[in-house]
Each structure stands twice: as C-alpha cells, then as structure tokens.
C-alpha cells in the first residue's frame, strides 16, 4: 500500500456520496438530499484539509516545490469549496436547478482535479515521501471523518 492509497480510495467514496446527493436533490427529495450533501461536504472538507495540512507541506518540504502542483491543487480546493457553498445555498432555498448546475460544475472540476492528483501528484508524493509515516496519518484522519 502506498502513502496515497487512502486518499485515492477516498476519492471513489466521495464520488458515491456525490451521486446520492445529486440524485436526491434532482428529485426534490430535500430531506435525503440535505443529509447526503452534508456527508459529502464534510468528507470533501476532511479530504481537502488532510491534503493541505499533512500531505502538501510534507511534499513541499521533501521536494522543495512550493509553488508548483500543490499550489494549483489548493486553488482548485478553493473553487470546489465555493461550489459546495453554492450547493448549500440551493438546498436552503430548495432550488433544484441551481443545485444541479453547481453540482454538474463541481463534478467535472472534481474529476479533473482527482485525475491530476491520482496520475501526477500522488505518484510524486509516493516517490518523495517513501520513508515517512505520513500515509498512516492520512489514513487515520480520513477514517475518523
């Protein structure tokens, strides 16, 4: 198991709860939708902060790259947090269209983001951080969420 396996698997888990939230809100099942969305938002927040507080600083320290890929990833986390806030607003005002539009945008952004991490950044992290124990810390943090 590599350092980033837990993060990789967590991406798939977030995809699943995204699909649940999107389906419920599209059908105007707001109670289930709100519950699924809270779970999604919480899980994504845990994922983002685990990367920003544990993985990225460790990678930056080990590789010396502070303004490269991690900076792009942080920027995309900001964009996704903003879209999540828009989705929250749409749930509060029971607006299926606004929710669907923001969800669609989040999905593509999230998938592109995940692909960049899984194909480029995570392999680099695995390379640079091979001897560290950061993998266990990441797995622990994602498990507690």
């Amino acid at each position: 198991m590599s350092i980033t396996t837990a993060l990789f698997q967590h991406h798939k888990y977030c995809d699943e709860i995204f699909a649940d939230a999107e389906e419920a809100c599209a059908n105007a099942d707001w109670e289930a939708g709100a519950a699924a969305f809270q779970l999604l938002r919480g899980q994504l927040e845990t994922h983002f902060s685990s990367e920003e507080e544990l993985l990225f600083p460790a990678f930056e320290a080990a590789s010396g790259m502070t303004s490269g890929p991690t900076e792009v990833m942080r920027g995309e986390h900001r964009q996704m947090r903003d879209l999540l806030a828009q989705m929250q607003g749409a749930i509060s005002s029971r607006d299926s269209d606004a929710f669907g539009g923001a969800a669609e945008t989040l999905l593509i952004l999230m998938q592109q983001h995940n692909m960049k991490e899984e194909n480029i950044l995570y392999p680099m992290c695995d390379d640079h951080l091979r001897s560290s124990d950061i993998g266990a810390a990441l797995a622990e943090r994602l498990k507690q969420a």
Binding site: E23, Q79, Q86, E104, L107
Partner: protein, 431 residues
C-alpha cells in the same frame, strides 16, 4: 522537475470554439444537399451525392470538431504541450474548410480538377496538425491507455488522408489503381483507425469521469486499440490478396471488436453510480446503440451475401456510422465541453467565484435535450430513407434542422460566455 506540472496549458478558448462553431454548418449543408437531391442520393455509396455527403460529415463535421477537441483534450487529459495552438488552429482550420468545400464540390459536380486541387490543402492542413499533435503526444511524460489510443488514432488520421489523396489523384489523372479496394481501406482507416480509435481513447477517460461509471477493465482498454490496429492492417491486405474471402474473414472479427466496445460502454453506463441522465450520456447511448446495430448489420451483410450485395446495404452502414455513431458522440461531447470551458475561462478572469454562472446557465438542458430528440428522429428517418427512398428529402430536412439547432445552441453558449465576460470586466473596472 516533472514536465507536466503546469496543469494550465489549456489553449485560449477561441481555439476549440472556432472548430466547434464551424462543424454543425457542414451538417446543415449535408441535410440540405440530401433534401435537394432526393431519392437518387442513397442509391449506392458511389453516387456523386453520397460521396459528397460522406465527406461533408467526415471532414466538415467530424474532423473539424475532433481537431478542436484535441487541442483542448491533449493538455488537460494527457499533459501534452501542443505547439502554439492559436497559430496552428488559425492555419489549419481555413485550409481544412477550403479543402473540404473543394473536395465536396469535386464529388458533387464530378470535377476531378477540384478533387486534385483539394489534395495539397489536406496534405498541408492535416500534415501540420498531425505533426504538432504527434510531437505533443510523444513528448508528454504521461502514460496510460487513453494516451496510447490517441497516438494510434493520430496515425490512423495520417493513413486516411494519404490514402484519400492517392484516390483523388488517381481519379484526376486516370491512374489504373484498384479504386474499390483502396476506397474500402481508406474508409476503414478513417472510421476505425482514426475516428473510433480516438472515440475509444477519449471514452476511457470521460465515460468514468462524467458519468461516474467503473473504469473500463484494463484488459479491455489495453487490448482494444492494438487489436483494432492489427485488424485494420489485415483488412488492408485485400489490396494485395485477390481473394473475396479475405474481407469477410477480417470483417467479421472487426465488427466483433466494434460491438465489444459498444457493449462494454453501454454496460458501464447501465451500472453507473450517477443516476442523473444528461444530454451527453444520452447522446453517448445513441452512439453506442448505433455502433451495435452497425456491427450486427455488418456481420449480417458479410454472412448473407444476398443482402450484402444490395448497393444500399453499405449506405445503411454509412448512415449508422456517420450520423448514428460519430455525429451523436461528438455532439454529446461538445455539449459537455462547451459549458465547462465557459465556466473555467470565466472564473479565470478573476471574478469572485459566485459571480460566475454555473454550467447549466451556459447552455440550457432543455435546448440540448430538444436538439437530441430531433437528431434521433433525423437518424431514424435517414435509416428508413435507405430502403424507402421517398423519405430522403424529409430525412435531409430533419438532419439540416437538427444540425442548425446544434449550431444555434453552441452560438448561444458562446454569446453567453461573451456577455458574462463583459459583465465581469465592467465590475472589475469599477472595483
């Protein structure tokens, strides 16, 4: 430093859009041409109208849209650096447009001098495009099945255009080449080696991503491209082997490979996690069902020579491949790419995120779904018109209307982009 770290090499938004905005008008032209020529057009694949229609769709619609999409897709999906995308697009596109119109006019008015005049334009445009794309695809440090399929596809495009040029020159100069066999090989490389290879490579990437399906099984994604390439090489052997059994022996496994891709994609879609249907996933479904029908009818034509000998059987396959598979899949892709590119480029202008409208406000779902319904109707009418020639004009009108609607939808999306961009700039000025 890792060479593909700059994730933001996407080209200016005008690069893909100039191709996307041109493509539907060739669909409109094809529809009008069919409506105007009526029942005669579909009598066989060799009528001037059928040849003109084929190239309006293959070069005008498909090659335009696929080139535009590649400029966008290569940096984003496989981390490749396309050399000066704006310059290349600005050079390649006018050459392609002019070459396509000359070629189509040459077929339609049986003017071999026009065919001959189109050849250098295509060699220049596609030669330049293939070179630039091939360099980007071979220099990227990325790996994976999508990248390999794209490398094979770009080779397929080169072979197709070389064979097409040879055919055009041989008609213009009266060379004694086996035209039928060469055309079959040209067609197989164009539809299989270029278009389907690219579609499959892109599918490995976008089907799981947009629709939250499981990934294509690795054995499938690794095997499909090389197997297709091998079969195309074998198919090309009919040029040298004067045996009527050869095309059947290769054609059957070829259509089996097509149906495996269609079946696999439909299965992944059927078992997907995301329950929402959007126009892109529906368009993909139409494309894959058309490909399945293509494969089944192709097998039937090979196995039952009585039906296969009817010149209309190949026209039937042509309608399925061009209108059913590729126009559908490409339209679905443009409907996904365009709203997202609008959003992506607008939020890069530095507006506060919440000021940038979401994807659904860029292109209304109703407009896309309505156009999809008309497109499906047009494909069904086209298929019916193969056997009931009286329907040809009506089918042409339907296809022209559905293509015009697509053009209108894309234009609206681009105008919305411009309007929001101007708003954001005004707000920025007054801040």
């Amino acid at each position: 430093m890792h060479p593909s770290l700059s994730f933001d090499q996407a080209p200016p938004i005008s690069v893909p859009y100039r191709f996307f905005l041109a493509a539907p008008w060739f669909g409109v032209m094809a529809g009008i041409l069919l409506a105007w020529s009526g029942p005669a057009a579909f009598a066989s694949r060799w009528t001037p109208e059928a040849l003109a229609l084929t190239h309006l769709i293959a070069l005008g619609f498909m090659l335009q849209a696929m080139s535009g999409a590649l400029f966008q897709f290569i940096p984003v999906a496989v981390g490749g650096n396309v050399w000066r995308p704006r310059l290349v697009a600005n050079t390649v596109q006018p050459l392609l447009l002019l070459g396509t119109l000359l070629l189509v006019a040459g077929f339609l008015f049986v003017r071999t001098d026009l065919l001959s005049a189109a050849v250098p334009l295509f060699l220049l445009a596609v030669g330049g495009f293939v070179t630039v794309v091939a360099i980007a695809l071979w220099q990227t440090p990325a790996t994976g099945v999508t990248l390999w399929a794209m490398r094979l596809a770009i080779g397929g495009l080169a072979v197709t255009v070389l064979l097409g040029s040879l055919l055009a020159e041989s008609l213009a100069r009266g060379l004694s080449l086996p035209i039928v066999e060469l055309t079959n090989i040209h067609l197989a490389w164009g539809l299989g080696g270029w278009a389907l290879m690219l579609l499959a490579g892109v599918s490995y990437h976008v089907v799981p991503m947009f629709q939250l399906t499981r990934p294509y099984p690795p054995w499938f994604a690794r095997g499909f491209g090389p197997l297709l390439l091998l079969l195309l090489l074998a198919w090309s052997g009919q040029y040298f082997l004067d045996d009527v059994r050869w095309p059947v022996a290769i054609g059957l496994p070829l259509v089996a490979v097509f149906s495996a891709y269609a079946g696999m994609t439909l299965w992944l879609q059927y078992t997907r996690r995301r329950k929402i249907h959007d126009p892109t996933s529906l368009y993909f479904r139409v494309a894959m069902l058309s490909l399945l029908v293509f494969a089944i009818s192709g097998a039937a034509f090979f196995l039952i020579p009585v039906i296969g000998a009817d010149p209309r059987s190949v026209v039937w396959l042509g309608v399925l491949a061009f209108a059913g598979v590729f126009v559908s899949a490409i339209t679905g892709m443009m409907y996904k790419i365009t709203p997202f590119l609008n959003w992506l480029h607008l939020q890069r202008l530095g507006a506060p995120m919440s000021a940038v409208p979401n994807m659904k406000k860029m292109l209304a779902a109703e407009a896309m779904t309505g156009q999809l319904r008309l497109h499906v109707l047009a494909v069904l009418l086209l298929l019916a018109a193969v056997w009931l020639p009286g329907l040809a004009s009506l089918a042409g009108v339907a296809f022209a209307c559905s293509s015009a609607w697509l053009a209108w939808n894309l234009i609206s999306a681009v105008r919305r982009y411009q309007a929001f961009r101007d708003q954001i700039r005004v707000v920025a000025l007054h801040r």
